[in-house]
Symmetry: C2
Subunit: 154 residues, 2 copies
């Protein structure tokens, strides 16, 4: 998919394709559509990230709370994101799943949002920044994948 | 459901109950959770609306774009919100549905967001304000309904 194709989309098409670049936040893609045309992938990505950065802290935490737990109950319900499946989290043993569920619960209780692939523990504000950085990396990968692929095949 | 019950919810429970107060924007409920405890329904509602009001215009338009078309394709797919069913929009004749689809398309092309129960046409900025007012009324009704009811029955 090239950028001309992206720029020609109406907002319904745009959110069908880009609505989950930020997990369960179609609002953000819908807002980014207002800023078209985009010059290239980097420009498109810049608008997604600028929207996140401009939110108040409660909104940034809200984004993290839209993320499913790593290998959590979504795994059992089969609605796990492709990224989590790709990371091998569908092949955990029962003991590993239980341990991960405990760690997820501890993390949620401590920080007030789910663990989003962030690899280190630190103070709450730093943790928010780190986890949002992970959300952005996930968003980058999704955007790059979407631009490389045919949306009809998604 | 009383406000003490609401204030005792963790963010997972809170977004399960209040995640669709603003249509398809669980991000907003997830952000509002950061502001607990709430003194009463009015206080809870105030936080939802303050979040909307503080968004940049692109974000406010994004909220409107998360709304399904009035009696649009969602109607055929059976995913229409209860409010639209309640308004009798499931009992339209084929001619009425076609006419409404035309009007929806004209509205989307003119304003860049779907028609959200707003009753008059005006300039774009005024229309955005009017339509957001309708979103808030919908949100008020949903909040009042949720506070009156048992979430287990939802």
């Amino acid at each position: 998919m090239d950028i001309e194709k992206v720029n020609s989309m109406d907002f319904g098409e745009f959110v069908d394709v880009f609505g989950n670049v930020i997990e369960r936040c179609p609002l953000i893609a819908d807002a980014v559509w207002s800023q078209r045309p985009f010059s290239d992938l980097e420009d498109l990505e810049k608008h997604f990230f600028a929207f996140i950065d401009a939110l108040p802290q409660s909104g940034q935490e809200g984004i993290l709370r839209c993320h499913p737990d790593l290998a959590g109950s979504e795994l059992q319900r089969g609605t796990l994101t492709r990224e989590q499946s790709g990371a091998g989290l569908t092949s955990l043993g029962a003991d590993e799943r239980l341990r991960l569920a405990e760690l997820n619960a501890q993390y949620r209780a401590r920080f007030g949002f789910p663990f989003v692939l962030a690899a280190r523990f630190s103070y709450r504000t730093a943790e928010l920044r780190t986890a949002l950085g992970e959300v952005k990396k996930i968003g980058s990968l999704r955007l790059a994948g979407l631009l490389r692929s045919d949306p009809a095949k998604l």
